[in-house]
């Protein structure tokens, strides 16, 4: 049994403008000691889905359905008290901006002690010992002295280490890291990722790493789920995502990673267009307005997340025929632009109409 199993999770918020389908039917699971990367642009629902695991999206205007089982226990229907016992205990979380995520007016020692004592019945002194121990573990020099400092007295990287220490001080089984490196500069990013990697190894903690940057997850994760418009559009082992990505959106993400081995003057290719509205998502495949390879039928048919033939554990939600996808990626991975890739793939005849029609029929 997986440590965390999310099934058909939907999180909808009623707002004045309409219902925001922030998360619209996602399923994934994380095993103990494993790392899952959830990748997507802002607004893709990646943060909302993980906040929901913590019960932090519960609100009057939120409708949450599906199932979240942690250690076999259903969290969606758990009481607030039960959830609180989980939060910061077996599941803990760290956030994007470590400065704004730490209370500016309390010393960090105090904030860690509070975290410890929320879940462990220990004295303040013991709790402080634990806090100091954790600060040391995450690489804060002179941790006992630094426990007496305020967040603004730390550098960005050090603050994120503090956040991690706080998240780990109750020996969580699962750590949800929401964009933990986004606010940090590149060298510090690497240090933090190394730290997470090291902690995972040493503490055997499962990690859900949420990021918009595929580059970040490349080093650390086992599996990767790519989210778009509230759904998972591709899910696979890390190596498969990098070696044989199936979804045009994933291609776009991959092409936007700066690579050390690419020529300096090579342009990074951002994905054209903007993330879709979650209130009135595009009809058919929600990625179709931005997809260079869109076909007319894609605007009507909603693709399902399906196993990629011949690739175990690799799922994708794309209406393009598998052969076409492979041909396109083959071109794209050499550095060709989407138009060129499309031309080559069509010329090669890989884009067999029959495949596509069949899938479309299936879907409808």
């Amino acid at each position: 049994m997986a440590l965390l199993e999310v099934e058909d999770l939907r999180v909808h918020f009623k707002t004045d403008d309409g219902v925001v389908k922030a998360v619209d039917g996602i399923s994934y699971s994380v095993d103990a000691g494993q790392t899952l990367g959830i990748v997507g642009e802002s607004g893709s629902g990646k943060s909302v889905s993980s906040m929901t695991v913590m019960g932090l999206t519960r609100a009057k205007n939120a409708t949450i359905t599906g199932s979240i089982r942690f250690d076999g226990k259903e969290l969606l229907t758990a009481s607030e008290d039960e959830l609180r016992a989980v939060r910061g205990g077996p599941i803990s979380m760290i956030f994007q901006d470590p400065l704004s995520s730490l209370h500016p007016m309390y010393k960090i020692g105090k904030q860690l002690v509070e975290a410890v004592r929320t879940h462990q019945d220990v004295s303040k002194a013991r709790a402080l010992d634990r806090a100091v121990e954790m600060l040391g573990l995450v690489g804060i020099p002179e941790p006992r002295r630094r426990a007496d400092s305020y967040p603004h007295e730390f550098s960005g990287g050090m603050r994120q280490r503090v956040m991690i220490a706080m998240a780990l001080c109750n020996d969580p089984k699962l750590l949800i890291a929401d964009e933990p490196t986004t606010a940090l500069d590149v060298t510090v990013q690497a240090q933090i990722l190394d730290l997470l990697e090291k902690l995972k190894r040493e503490l055997d903690t499962a990690i859900v790493l949420i990021t918009h940057d595929l580059g970040v997850v490349a080093e650390v994760t086992d599996d990767i789920a790519v989210m778009y418009a509230g759904r998972i559009v591709e899910k696979a082992h890390r190596d498969d995502i990098f070696a044989a990505p199936e979804h045009p959106y994933t291609w776009g993400l991959l092409r936007s990673i700066p690579r050390l081995d690419s020529p300096r003057d090579e342009e990074l290719v951002p994905i054209p267009g903007r993330p879709p509205s979650l209130i009135n998502p595009p009809s058919g495949c929600s990625f179709h307005p931005r997809c260079p390879y869109v076909r007319e039928a894609h605007t009507r048919v909603d693709p399902l997340l399906e196993a990629v033939p011949g690739a175990a554990g690799h799922e994708v939600a794309c209406l393009l025929p598998p052969a076409t996808r492979r041909a396109l990626w083959a071109e794209l991975s050499t550095g060709a632009d989407p138009e060129a890739a499309k031309a080559v793939a069509t010329a090669a005849g890989a884009g067999s109409g029959t495949g596509s029609v069949r899938r479309e029929e299936e879907a409808s």
């Binding site: 913590m54 932090l56 609180r84 956030f95 704004s100 209370h103 007016m105 509070e114 929320t118 305020y150």
Partner: protein, 318 residues
């Protein structure tokens, strides 16, 4: 911090000097009417006016008079004498000060507590009936003139004029009866003075708290598994209340110059009444003394607030 306070104190002295100079200039050089003529009465002759000018040293050059005033102020702590009845101003002010202090500090406690409680409830129950009722009431309280509110309070609750007769009547406040005996006479004035402030503070706290509750560190606090109450009170309120304490300090500082209307309606012999009466009678030295006190009050409170802020918000350093 030490040098900061020292610098601020020096600035306060400089500021007070300018306030003194300015008020002295306004009341002595640019008066609407000659104080000597006003004092001479309707049967004045040029000789009487001259005698009064002589008595009040009005014929000395401006600077001489100013520095003599300043000298008395600095070396004898002498604020001059009332033109009207020759009473020395210092005891007048010092007798009025505790009354204003009692009124203002008591009211400040009332409005701070009410403001914070209502503001917090409103923010936590945002959008609820409770919130709407509270915020509408607040709007009414802010718009209601203190003078009117005072009369309404008296006609409703005072023991002699009120329908309900719950609190001592206007004019019963008498500091000489001792602090604790006279406190009951302050309940109504406190409530009236605090009404508008409570409302302002409630609205201020509500919006501060709403803003704070959407901060990332509140999410962190929740993610720690803290109880919602702890999140609101320990994490949310702690940040939301800090700027309000600054405002509180300044409000108190300004009110130390006198809560004129409340003091008038309830007959509390505070600085406000003193200076109001003095202004009406063109009693220059009292007006000047009271103005200086107001300036001193504001300066002191703003310094206090700044120092306090450094303790409340560790990010602030001087």
């Amino acid at each position: 911090m030490g040098t900061y306070i020292l610098r601020r104190l020096l600035w306060t002295v400089v500021l007070l000097f300018f306030v003194t100079a300015l008020t002295f200039l306004i009341f002595n050089v640019l008066p609407t009417a000659d104080p000597a003529k006003l004092r001479a009465g309707r049967n004045q002759t040029p000789e009487t006016v001259a005698a009064i000018r002589d008595q009040l040293n009005l014929d000395d050059p401006f600077l001489t008079r100013f520095f003599s005033y300043l000298g008395d102020l600095l070396f004898h702590f002498d604020f001059g004498t009332s033109v009207l009845n020759d009473e020395p101003v210092r005891p007048l002010i010092f007798e009025a000060l505790p009354n204003t202090l009692m009124l203002v500090l008591g009211a400040a406690v009332v409005w701070f507590v009410i403001g914070v409680v209502i503001g917090t409830i409103s923010a936590v129950k945002r959008g609820s009936i409770l919130d709407r009722v509270a915020m509408t009431t607040a709007l009414v309280a802010i718009s209601a003139p203190v003078y009117w509110l005072g009369l309404v309070a008296l006609y409703l609750f005072s023991s002699d004029l009120g329908v309900l007769g719950l609190f001592p009547a206007a004019g019963t406040y008498d500091a000489s009866r001792g602090v604790f005996t006279s406190i009951s006479s302050l309940f109504l004035p406190w409530l009236v003075l605090a009404a508008a402030f409570s409302a302002i503070y409630a609205r201020l706290l509500r919006s501060n708290l709403l803003e704070t509750m959407s901060e990332d560190y509140i999410r962190t606090a929740r993610a720690k598994g803290l109880k919602e109450r702890t999140v609101v009170f320990k994490h949310g309120l702690r940040s939301a209340i800090t700027p309000i304490i600054t405002v509180l300090g300044l409000d108190i500082g300004i009110l130390l110059g006198g809560a004129i209307l409340t003091e008038s309606v309830f007959g509390i012999p505070g600085i406000g009444r003193l200076s109001f009466d003095a202004i009406q009678r063109n009693d220059i030295d009292i007006v000047q003394g009271a103005t200086l006190f107001l300036a001193l009050g504001v300066c002191t409170m703003s310094l206090l607030v700044d120092v306090l802020y450094a303790f409340l918000d560790p990010r602030v350093r001087y």
